[in-house]
Subunit: 335 residues, 2 copies
Amino acid sequence: MPKAIVRLRDIAEKTGFSTNTVSLALRESPRIPLETRAIIRSAAQELGYVPNYVAKSLVSRETRTIGLVLTDILNPTLTHTAQAVEIALAERGYGTLFATSNNTLAEEIKVVEMFRSRQVDGILIYPARHHDLEHLRPLRRANYPLVLLIADPDAGIDGVSVNDRSGGFQATRYLIGLGHRRIGFLDASHPNGNDEKLEGYQEALRQSGIPFDPDLVVATNGHYARHGYFGLDTLMGGPKRPTAVFSDNDSLALGALHWCHKHKVRIPQDLAIMGYDNIAFTEFGEPPLSTVNYDVDAVSRMAVDRLMRLIGAGDQLPEPRITLIDPELIIREST
Amino acid sequence: MPKAIVRLRDIAEKTGFSTNTVSLALRESPRIPLETRAIIRSAAQELGYVPNYVAKSLVSRETRTIGLVLTDILNPTLTHTAQAVEIALAERGYGTLFATSNNTLAEEIKVVEMFRSRQVDGILIYPARHHDLEHLRPLRRANYPLVLLIADPDAGIDGVSVNDRSGGFQATRYLIGLGHRRIGFLDASHPNGNDEKLEGYQEALRQSGIPFDPDLVVATNGHYARHGYFGLDTLMGGPKRPTAVFSDNDSLALGALHWCHKHKVRIPQDLAIMGYDNIAFTEFGEPPLSTVNYDVDAVSRMAVDRLMRLIGAGDQLPEPRITLIDPELIIREST
DNA sequence: GCAACCAATGAAAACAATTTCCGACAGTTT
DNA sequence: AAACTGTCGGAAATTGTTTTCATTGGTTGC
């Protein structure tokens, strides 16, 4: 028995009705009298009928499935996004086809193509490179429902995101307000051209008349805790030690925290540390980490809402709209 | 233009060949001369043809998609599993349809049904309740490829997992070896009937002649850090303070760590803490956490391998096989 | 010079559902 | 009794692909 497939026809043969009648009955069409429906329903139950979505999709031209492309699900914020998106979609009766781009453009292109050929009704994507969107624009032009989990006003594609430039600005301004002048920046995103936080950081320095010192910015070459550990190590090993560090994300900051413990650097007296994202563990760091709140649930919800609107629009998509959520600072004990 | 669909027929009309020839040509059939193939290929390219998997699936009776059911992707070990599974499947040309059961049996049943109706070629599932598998057994009997990410020898269904009983046993025995007699247990899993670690814990106590004290086991009612924090609080608030705590998972242990910092309890002198899973942040705890290594990559890889074998077997599935990986202790500074 | 063969292509039938249209029959109206 | 109306159900077309089987027209072999 090869994966027992029960078709409408099987129910039809069993009950003596036509497949057509069975189809209508199972969808509770008022055209079929209640009694007939009951007979058919119980026969379906008995045979263990499960509707075949792929056949249904072929005729209805919709799969009720959307594709979610993330760079890397190990990043806690993206994990959280995946969960929130999946739940929001499930509530609306959509399935989630999921894939990672591993932070490379080439894989991202392949994944999008794979999703298209699987006929997903729309795509939600956190692109690897925030400014390399050329492979997505033709899709948008072809009226393909597509929402970015970043917000580039020039993209010409819908996007929902936290305003990272504002986040970087606020965090830096706050550190400056605390009296810090030498503020390090642990940067995991620049190599991918995702510079919003760095720009906010520079803007805050500029407003306070503090010259930007490129030596205070270190590329961590990754966004896990260990990268933060080594990033801080090079920063603190240099001649111009900072008195505060702003970190591209919380994992990095947690790694930095660990470096301080190892080297008997007191937090926040000797070094203030500011994270980004407000992942669950920040609250339980030692000390609890100050950070910038990335409201994953709001972003996910709004992105899904927007995608649903695009799917509903059909032939002619509305003008792309960018939604930016202004983040809030969460001040704990590391600053 | 509603989501510009280019069909084989469109290529056929453009080139003057039949759809059939186009189909063959695009799949590089040797029956079509190279020259014809080149013409067809370039026409397909020009029109931006993307094969329609849903139509293909209808005839081939395979979707090259598998369903992954997890209880909750916020659990770092499951996150890691999702990532590892997705990568392993992508390597084999399979897509990953993903859903969470939110730790409830009812949602799990719905998700499995949804996957079935979407005709996934197989299902990988971390069930909400390790002993409530009745909804899965009929699938296995119907030769549906199915692999559990737990290992229940009595399940009658293939499974791959870390041996949690052994993990619980080893961790407890190690703590006993350190001289501890009063060992607390932070339990997030019992309410779902997932008792393997607790059983290992009890077995270790028994072997050392230490009577089991139910007051030392606290249900945390959740598996995030905050649950560990409050769990430890009740444990330490009681009359019989333990000298060591074994925790159902690392998030819980990190929360417990935080409680100790808050209450000036020294680790490991006053209280030894042992986690479970070896998630990324354990290494960067303060102090770094001793834990039990859950080899996610090995489990995921083996589970996918097994699933592929089942899918390949077709009509008659081989006997179910349970694969247990014996975990290793990772000793750091919290014990 | 004709059967046999072969290479290149096409026609049509699947696949499992939905949709459109049409027919049978019963009951009601003229 | 003819014409109309409405209910119930079925036949057939459709969706985009793959697969099986046919059909060309041109060569080859004897």
